[in-house]
């Protein structure tokens, strides 16, 4: 339909404008060193090099693997902690729930560097430095409070009648949670998983403080092999970023299909 095509066109233009920096990143990844800083800048480089990609593919695959494991692990940990807590706050009215909610908000206000240096001390004592579970747990702290708040908002919209019906049928809280709440919160779960994945995927701070080379390091640290005190290998850096974006983009697109119309209304009661 004509109307639909207009929208698609505008949509493409908007997306293109928003993603222009990514286009620039792509261009830098294939521009030879000597051409990077020329006046005036051109939209397409005069000559092209794939050295950066060669280096990135050679060096970065193990790091990308670690990134993937850490990000997925972080999603799992986030859901494990967040979903039950969100349910409790949304539907079970625990006494002191308001305090917990406030605590969740304050938890997010702590600057990252404070968290990271704090974790270093805890991890050093527990022997969690330079370990995969340690990094997964640390990255999960980026998402858990956010996840609880968002999931709670969505869960509050689940009609109480459904829950009471289940209770009358003799279902305990856990059964209700598993059989009714979770399936109905599918969209919230996916949304939250998306953000948890993204937070962990692009984390640099926890990785640099809590791991050392030889340990599990994500690609955000792998990139620093191309950054020294004196020069930055931009081709390789951008090539790594481009390559890293591919699997993550696929995951994103697949996941977004599940965030379809019909996310239940959430009245946010603080």
């Amino acid at each position: 339909m004509k109307r639909s095509w207009w929208r698609t066109l505008i949509g493409i233009v908007l997306t293109a404008v928003m993603l222009f920096p990514l286009y620039w990143m792509l261009m830098v990844s294939i521009t030879p060193r000597g051409e990077l800083l020329k006046t005036p800048p051109t939209l397409v480089p005069d000559s092209v090099t794939f050295e950066g990609y060669a280096k990135a593919i050679n060096d970065q695959l193990p790091y990308l693997g670690i990134s993937l494991v850490v990000a997925l692990g972080s999603v799992l940990v986030t859901l494990l902690f967040a979903a039950p807590a969100a349910y409790a706050l949304a539907k079970l009215s625990p006494r002191g729930g308001g305090v917990v909610t406030f605590g969740l908000l304050v938890a997010q206000m702590i600057p990252g560097i404070v968290m990271a240096t704090g974790f270093y001390a805890i991890y050093a004592d527990l022997g969690l430095l330079n370990t995969l579970p340690g990094l997964v747990l640390a990255d999960s702290t980026l998402a858990v409070p956010f996840a609880i708040l968002v999931m709670r908002a969505f869960m509050e919209g689940i009609p109480s009648e459904l829950i009471q019906a289940a209770t009358v049928d003799g279902a305990g809280a856990f059964r209700t949670f598993r059989s009714i709440i979770l399936p109905l919160s599918r969209n919230a779960v996916v949304t939250v998983s998306l953000f948890a994945f993204l937070f962990a995927w692009s984390d640099f701070l926890f990785a640099v403080i809590l791991t050392s080379s030889g340990g599990p390091q994500p690609f955000t640290l792998g990139i620093y092999h191309y950054i020294s005190n004196y020069s930055k290998d931009w081709n390789a850096i951008m090539a790594t970023a481009v390559i890293a974006s591919v699997p993550a983009t696929i995951l994103l697109i697949v996941a977004q299909r599940y965030v379809a119309a019909g996310i239940t209304a959430g009245a946010v009661k603080d």
Partner: protein
């Protein structure tokens, strides 16, 4: 739907279990072995660009073998290195050897973290005093230089020939040259005026070249030095981007071929040789001629204090081996630094003419902390703040430097 979820949950839990097992396995093997076949030492350095097959790493391994130990090397960016060093010190698991940037050695030594070279038995008598001085606190050496680098004036031969000028020998000539190059339609001069130690580092040849002294930031000479820079920017001889460009960025601009002059360091030589620019090197000129004293750059091997004397002795042996000129020539080329011993320098100058210019510069160079010691970081911070304020036009050079001196006095 419920079935799908529990399957996913099951898979997820399995993955987590696997990951945990892997992690625990890694954890168990990760701690350095106390006892066992040979001691495993750790070394932290700011050269993340060096891979396991680089001369730096391989020389390190062979030195370790000679000392009867194995060594695990970690390369990371400088700022992370300092932070992690402090954190590790707090947890009492500092590395055995830490390679840190020379202006920080005095401050780190002041915390009591580092062992003095006398205490660990490292011989520093061959090292040129001006280079060693950067790592001294109250006359005691707390580190051994990896090597030195310093700044010089690079110029694009093609552009200079085209404009019919020769490299400058004093400031008047420098100003004239830059103007001539601008008139010929090219970019004049590039330097870094960023708000970090790098900015101060870059400014020091001009600061000292005017006759100014760090202890007096607002002297008339200092004002004249700062005015040189601000005039370049306001006249278009230098781009306003110097405020945000690191030395690496300036070098990239130079490599692009349109920049006539750049103030940069010996470490750029390898990259420049690989590029297309026909370049030359002269010392940064002093205001009335001669070579301006340039600041010493480069890192130091340092040894955090270790209760285990045997471990410390082995670490010292590794450092001595690495800094032995016979070994150092293996890895120094990767950094294009100048070695800190007189004989070794002569050898380097013979091998490479471009480096020869830097060897001379290093001989005349000054350590940044030589005069002010642990006070240097404070002065430097005010100096680069003044730089930023003046070059950006927020304040006049005089005002900026007066305020800088006042801040130092207050603080």
């Amino acid at each position: 739907m419920t079935v799908k979820y529990s399957k996913a949950a099951g898979a997820g839990l399995l993955a987590l279990a696997v990951a945990t097992t892997l992690g625990l396995a890694g954890c168990a093997g990760g701690t350095p072995s106390e006892g066992g076949a040979s001691t495993a030492l750790t070394l932290w350095d700011p050269y993340p660009q060096f891979e396991a097959d680089s001369p730096w790493s391989t020389t390190l391994d062979s030195c370790a073998k000679d000392a009867g130990v194995t060594i695990t090397r970690e390369g990371m960016d400088t700022s992370s290195l300092t932070s992690k060093l402090l954190l590790a010190a707090q947890q009492k698991n500092a590395p055995d050897i830490a390679v840190i940037d020379n202006p920080l050695v005095a401050s780190v030594a002041d915390t009591g973290l580092l062992a003095s070279m006398d205490d660990v038995g490292i011989d520093t008598s061959d090292i040129l005093p001006n280079i060693l001085a950067a790592g001294n606190v109250e006359g005691k050496a707390f580190g051994v230089p990896v090597g030195s680098n310093t700044l010089a004036l690079f110029y694009n031969k093609t552009i200079l020939d085209e404009a019919g000028i020769t490299p400058p020998t004093n400031w008047d000539e420098l100003k004239a040259d830059v103007a001539a190059v601008q008139a010929a339609g090219h970019q004049g001069i590039g330097f870094s005026a960023v708000g970090t130690e790098e900015g101060s580092f870059q400014f020091l040849p001009f600061f000292w070249g005017s006759g100014a002294d760090l202890s007096e930031l607002d002297s008339p000479e200092a004002v004249e030095a700062l005015s040189l820079w601000t005039d370049f920017v306001s006249s278009g001889g230098a781009s306003a981007s110097v405020l945000n460009s690191t030395q690496a960025d300036i070098n990239d601009q130079f490599l692009a071929g349109d920049l006539a002059f750049q103030v940069n360091g010996s470490w750029q030589l390898a990259g420049l040789d690989a590029g297309d620019v026909d370049y030359g090197v002269v010392p940064v000129p002093g205001i009335d001629g001669g070579a301006a004293p340039a600041p010493l750059g480069g890192e130091f091997f340092t040894l955090p204090v270790n209760a285990d004397a045997d471990r410390q002795a082995k670490a010292a042996a590794v450092v001595t081996c690495m800094t032995d000129p016979a070994n150092a020539v293996n890895w120094i080329a990767g950094l294009t630094y100048v070695l800190p011993e007189a004989d070794a320098q002569a050898e380097q100058a013979k091998q490479s003419p471009e480096l020869a210019a830097f060897v001379d510069a290093v001989a005349a160079a000054k350590g940044r902390t030589s005069d002010l010691g642990t006070e240097y970081p404070r002065y430097s911070e005010q100096l680069w703040t003044a730089l930023q304020e003046a070059v950006s036009g927020a304040k006049t050079p005089e005002q900026a430097l007066t305020d800088a001196q006042a801040a130092v006095d207050a603080g």
